[in-house]
Symmetry: C2
Subunit: 386 residues, 2 copies
């Protein structure tokens, strides 16, 4: 049969910059990036800011205005959009609509920029709106939490929730640049400081035993908000995530998602708890569940399993939640397995551990073992309280 | 300053198959394509069909059911979605919502398929919904018009209209396969048969003088609905479009859009006429306008300009429209120049002709010359009536 064959490759490149005080007028890192591209037409930059960040940094908007009064390669849109932070911004599509409307109102074209400052949820929502407006406006991410600086903010995915399903709508669309500013970490509350550490533990457990050893040695420093330790954790975690994205299947055409260790139950718990449990907290519980499951199914030694749980508890994480328990074979959590499969499509593929630093994919989960793992963890939580 | 560098390439491949009678049970072309991929999980296929096609082919749905009763590599979702054809399907977001809801209702995962049967507007809308559901469901295109078989349906773009602006929302997302079935062309009305020919004239004029010569020799055959001539026209036009996409800048990161000869005014006319003028008809008028403008600005010889106009008129196209006229320097059409620039961003870039088969980009258009070109064409239309 006659046919025409189409084949082409598209190259994607971006840098993740690490700095402190991105919008101090003397800091040229953002200005240099924006000056790299020459254009005959006036390019603009439009900012969307997480309400929590705007509140914790009341000078931020005037700092940005001062910055662009000095650095003029790109014209600042003086109006900035403040949006709710956390999962709320992904659940209610009006926030997405506001960004798309701003693109129209302020005439943001495809050579202009939409910059998002905030946690992972705000970056996900703004990234999606930028990706579909005019078939893709240049997107700059300025993540402000541990979680977004070491994981979600430096990757290639975006999305919003729909039909009560996480990231039901979204695309793969790399940003043009990411700026990790450690000053934003100082004002995080305890929960947000801690939350993002679970993604570092996750990637260490499935990919890098040395990094897990390092985390184990620095649990106290991290718990006590040592910024040097946190900066190293974020750098190493971001590097592992970025290498993974570039190395394998950036736009996830396969059925597995090897980085999503501990995530099938975490995604479901977030919904079941009405997002009272934060993503990073849910991931810590998901890691604990799949670690103990790995042990009970004979993959991981009890000693290594205990090391993981000890690190989580020392950092102050809860390692389970009543909604993560399976009782007499029943739990709303179990539907999370099918939803996880459905989102990726194809065969169910779950990452477990065969050792610290070594992941192993399986294609089914045993409800009885999940029940037992939940009970083991309920006791661990209890021990923590003693 | 410290930074991590991300860099990767993504390969995109798909075939455009040419056939007659795609859903005849004995035609294995679609079944073979669907059998190529092996999967442990049951894959599904969901069909969205242009209402005009469903009406002209009342047996289509039962044919599809028979086909998948015999060819079982992929499970047919028996419910099919019928949507309005033409620009309406891109103007009203409820159609997009219906496809996204179907993804949820029927559990269409990322290894399953959404197939769209219809004209370019239906393919654009369904392609967009598929691209953003679960961050991208495999999309099969079955274009049913000349325009979609030789241009829009075989490319990598999708989109819907928003804020009264064409393709304001959309993505670059290649289909996994395209099936051009010539049987659908037999039932096209006169306007739809003719419309798509203008995109072939366009690509010939800017890229391939031999192809324009061929079209010139076959204008009568094409006007008389000679299927052999039309099949060759579609093949050559699709090939030129696909080579262009692969060769240059598939996801259009630059400011120019070299294939959009005649399109800046065509896009605007479609809106100004409330879509009473079809895309292909508007493109014919846009080609005529920019051809005569090329002549009046000293780029193109009067003889070559006349050849283009003669081909359009012989095929039955109108070469201008009252809404395309500029009078005393004023016309709603002129706003189309800025909108065209804004959609692509950067500098205004318009393709003109320096010879038949040779495009030339310019960065400004002169309103007085556009006015004169409009008047020249108004007379050509008049001559045609004599």
């Amino acid at each position: 049969m006659e046919h025409l064959q189409q084949s082409f490759t598209v190259k994607f490149e971006y840098n993740v910059f690490f700095t402190a005080g991105l919008f101090e007028v003397g800091n040229n890192i953002l200005a240099n990036f924006l000056s790299q591209t020459k254009s005959a037409a006036q390019r603009k930059i439009f900012f969307v800011i997480d309400a929590g960040v705007a509140e914790a940094h009341p000078q931020l908007r005037s700092q940005i205005k001062n910055y662009f009064a000095t650095h003029t390669a790109v014209k600042l849109v003086p109006e900035m959009l403040i949006v709710a932070g956390g999962e709320e911004v992904k659940n209610d599509t009006q926030h997405f609509d506001q960004v798309v409307e701003a693109v129209n109102t302020y005439g943001i074209d495809r050579h202009s920029y939409i910059a998002a400052i905030g946690g992972g949820s705000v970056l996900d929502m703004v990234g999606y709106a930028a990706a579909v407006s005019h078939r893709g406006i240049k997107h700059i991410r300025i993540p402000t939490t541990v979680l977004s600086q070491n994981d979600s903010g430096i990757g290639v995915k975006n999305g919003i929730n729909y039909f009560n399903k996480k990231n039901f709508l979204g695309t793969f669309a790399p940003p043009v640049a990411v700026f990790n500013d450690e000053l934003f970490l100082h004002t995080l509350n305890e929960r947000d400081w801690r939350s993002g550490i679970s993604e570092a533990i996750k990637v260490a457990l499935i990919k890098d035993a040395n990094f897990f050893d390092w985390i184990e040695e620095h649990t106290t420093a991290l718990a006590q908000r040592d910024m040097m330790a946190m900066a190293e954790l974020i750098w190493r975690c971001a590097k592992l995530h970025m290498e993974h994205i570039a190395g394998a299947d950036p736009f996830e055409s396969g059925s597995s998602r090897p980085l999503d260790f501990g995530h099938w139950s975490a995604h479901k718990l977030e919904y079941l708890s009405n997002f009272e449990v934060r993503h990073g907290e849910a991931v810590a519980m998901g890691i604990a569940l799949d670690t103990v499951y790995s042990q009970l199914s004979g993959r991981l030694t009890p000693t290594d399993s205990q090391r993981v749980i000890d690190v989580l508890i020392t950092l102050g994480f809860e390692v389970t939640h009543p909604l993560m328990q399976v009782n007499e074979g029943k739990s709303p959590l179990l539907a999370g397995l099918e939803e996880f499969r459905e989102h990726l499509g194809g065969q169910l593929t779950i990452m477990l551990l065969s050792a610290i630093g070594m992941g192993e994919e399986v294609h089914e989960m045993d409800a009885a073992l999940l029940e037992e793992a939940g009970h083991v963890l309920a006791n661990k939580t209890h021990q923590q309280l003693q």
